[in-house]
């Protein structure tokens, strides 16, 4: 998509008009949650955060893959890093995520662990071929956006006879997490800005329960300011009329049924499973596991890794922040014990985490 085309979705005059309309039509606070970390950053980076009416309460949800990676999962990949004959492959986001005892992949690398930051899961195939005497373990973290590419990588590895690639599968799926949030009475959300990337894979139907079961609205939304403002305005209108809808406003990328081919390949290799979310806990059916037919790639099975729940870090409010119960600056550690230089919780370490965005972009 050309940058010129995208520029239309950044038109300051159009944005101003919607902001003015919002200001005049809001009759009470509206608590909206953007599920995806990229939306969090887009809202801050474009300056929207400073322009939205004060009555719009902006909450960052559990849509940053780094933020929701469970402590036990972090410890599992940190335990593998540094073992003889193992090369860990990962996206850059995970390099500074803290595990127990302040460990992280950056420090592990300095201690001699072989860790390779990759730009695509397909890079791991090349890495495995270049290092036939080693085991390349890719840390499979992310949502429906990344899982299909990893599944495709595994298929390709099988076709090409690459037998030294393993996947540490910690994938999670978004709709069950939203269901869990909405069923928690302590969480008060009027509407969701639904993720653009995840929805491009799963489509819109998996979110229908938000309106049907909980009478809340949700809009699949792009990442430009006008995308976000239009979705918010719609939710304000619906609430005033007492209606609840789930719609797709990101039709330039997201089809109603998503990407069937990607879903097919994803479910050929993975199957739904329960998963632990950092700060939230166990959400039934919210994870993906490698199917038994593909277990030759399963690092969890090979190394006997068991993901167990554990108490959250003392003082860290990442869980409440991911659930929209607290804002980042309401955490006692925010900006003091927990900063991007020394992150205590994952919301501060990820570039897409709400605490990191708050710390990085918020002026006052």
């Amino acid at each position: 998509m050309s940058l010129e085309f995208l520029q239309k979705f950044r038109d300051p005059d159009m944005c101003r008009k919607i902001l003015d309309k919002m200001e005049s039509e809001l009759d009470r606070d509206l608590r909206f949650m953007e599920v995806c970390g990229t939306h969090t950053v887009a809202i801050f980076q474009s300056g929207l955060r400073s322009l939205l009416p004060e009555r719009i309460v902006h909450l960052s949800g559990p849509g940053c893959p780094v933020c929701v990676t469970h402590e036990s999962e972090v410890n599992a990949f940190l335990d593998l890093a540094g073992r003889a004959g193992i090369i860990m492959a990962t996206f850059g986001d995970l390099m500074r995520v803290p595990g127990d005892g302040g460990r992280n992949l950056k420090k592990a690398t300095a201690d001699g662990a072989r860790v390779k930051v990759v730009y695509s899961p397909f890079d791991t195939l090349k890495l495995a071929k270049e290092n036939p005497g080693d085991l390349v373990i890719f840390i499979g973290v992310g949502f429906e956006t990344t899982a299909p590419t990893i599944a495709a990588t595994m298929k390709m590895a099988r076709e090409q006879g690459v037998d030294n690639l393993r996947i540490l599968c910690f994938h999670k799926t978004v709709p069950p997490a939203l269901d869990a949030l909405l069923s928690d009475e302590a969480i008060n959300i009027d509407g969701f800005i639904l993720p653009g990337h995840v929805s491009a894979i799963i489509g819109v139907k998996p979110y229908d329960f938000i309106a049907e079961k909980y009478s809340k609205s949700a809009v699949v939304t792009g990442f430009e300011p006008l995308d976000i403002l239009q979705s918010l305005m719609q939710m304000i209108d619906w609430r005033k009329k007492g209606e609840a809808h789930v719609v797709n406003n990101y039709t330039r990328i997201v089809g109603a049924n998503g990407n069937q081919k990607a879903l097919e390949i994803m479910y050929e290799v993975f199957e739904p499973a329960d998963a632990l979310w950092r700060g939230i806990g166990l959400i039934p059916g919210s994870g993906l596991e490698i199917r038994p037919e593909w277990e030759q790639f399963d690092a969890k099975k090979e190394f006997g890794i068991v993901i167990k729940d554990c108490p959250p870090l003392k003082g860290c409010k990442c869980g409440d922040i991911l659930k929209g119960i607290k804002q980042p600056n309401e955490c006692p550690l925010f900006g003091k014990a927990c900063t991007p230089a020394n992150p205590v919780g994952p919301c501060m370490v990820s570039t897409e985490g709400s605490c990191a965005a708050y710390y990085k972009y918020k002026l006052d």
Binding site: G47, L48, F91, V117, L363
Partner: protein
């Protein structure tokens, strides 16, 4: 000479001498260096600017330059940012055993071209060859010295509220090129490093406008980090206008794919200039008259609103903080 650099070439014996005379002097030689004394005899008086830098870039060859030209540009620019005319430069090479001799020749030859263009003289050098694995292919250290021609010299703590903030051209070109080449990423449109010696343009600028308060090249950490350094040292606020920051569409596109921010990417042929409002237009005129400053523009103003901070006025008219880079930028998951 062998087709690969051997440990012998760092022995100090005949092999070393051959390397120096047949390669280094061939491209970098001059009356002073050719004497091969233990130290250079220089005539320096008055206020001088001196700077040193080590270059460890990976990959060593990239579109728009290589580690040899970069090692000259980086140090020449650092000296020139002090309102100085760079005159002399030294270079120390640490070479990994096994480096192809052709690669070394390309690097030294590029360095020779760069010193010629910058008009500086290499007066001293050193060559070490270390066992395979002790360094990554080649590291180069350069030190430069030059005559300061303005008083007071531009300085990071000299920005004042009301000053105009100018940039000499587009940002992020070098950082994205090096990252793209290192990772073997193919961008839709070609990106190229902006690595260049800025001293002639800078000398012209400070000769005509000695009132320049700050000159800085936004290298590692990029524009955002450099501006933060200036606002912290000067205790002023920099209000940047997002619309006016020049970024090439291909750099914007590449960054958007990788989840990187061009404001934090390294530049090697650009400089920031902070000077009193009254001289802003003249400064832009001087910069734009030079090919290395043709895209120069004003990007902001120093104020006393939020001392020590850089504030971005976004395209939408909103405001946000533009902080310093924490660690390195890394590609994200989605």
């Amino acid at each position: 000479m062998s087709d690969k650099v051997l440990l012998d070439y760092g022995s100090g014996g005949r092999a070393s001498q051959r390397l120096i005379s047949e390669l280094f002097l061939k491209y970098l030689g001059n009356d002073e260096l050719n004497r091969l004394n233990d130290a250079a005899e220089l005539s320096v008086s008055g206020r001088v600017a001196m700077s040193t830098d080590s270059f460890t870039v990976d990959p060593i060859f990239f579109p728009g330059g290589n580690i040899g030209s970069l090692a000259v540009h980086g140090t020449v620019n650092d000296v020139a940012m002090m309102g100085a005319i760079p005159r002399y430069i030294t270079c120390a090479y640490i070479i990994e055993e096994g480096l192809p001799m052709d690669d070394l020749e390309r690097i030294v030859s590029a360095m020779g071209e760069a010193v010629k263009t910058a008009g500086v003289t290499v007066v001293s050098g050193d060559t070490k060859v270390v066992p395979k694995g002790a360094v990554d292919k080649i590291f180069i250290n350069t030190t430069g010295i030059g005559d300061i021609i303005v008083d007071p010299a531009p300085s990071g703590d000299a920005a004042r509220s009301g000053d105009a903030v100018l940039i000499s051209g587009t940002i992020g070109d070098h950082g994205l090129t090096v990252l793209g080449t290192r990772e073997g990423l193919d961008f839709e449109a070609k990106v190229e490093s902006d690595s260049a010696a800025l001293n002639h343009l800078l000398v012209k600028l400070v000769r005509e406008l000695p009132e320049v308060h700050v000159l800085r090249d936004p290298t590692r950490g990029g524009l955002a980090t450099t501006l933060n350094e200036i606002t912290t040292s000067s205790n002023v606020c920099c209000e940047l206008d997002e619309n006016s920051i020049p970024v090439k569409p291909e750099v914007k596109g590449g960054c958007s794919i990788l989840g990187l921010d061009p404001l934090y990417l390294a530049n090697e042929g650009k400089f920031l200039c902070v000077l009193p409002e009254a001289h802003a237009e003249k400064a832009l005129e001087i910069m734009r008259a030079d090919p290395l400053g043709k895209d120069a523009c004003r990007i902001g103003t120093m104020t006393d609103a939020n001392p020590g901070k850089v504030v971005m006025l976004t395209q939408l008219g909103g405001k946000r903080l533009l902080g310093m880079l924490e660690g390195e930028q890394l590609p994200r998951i989605c």
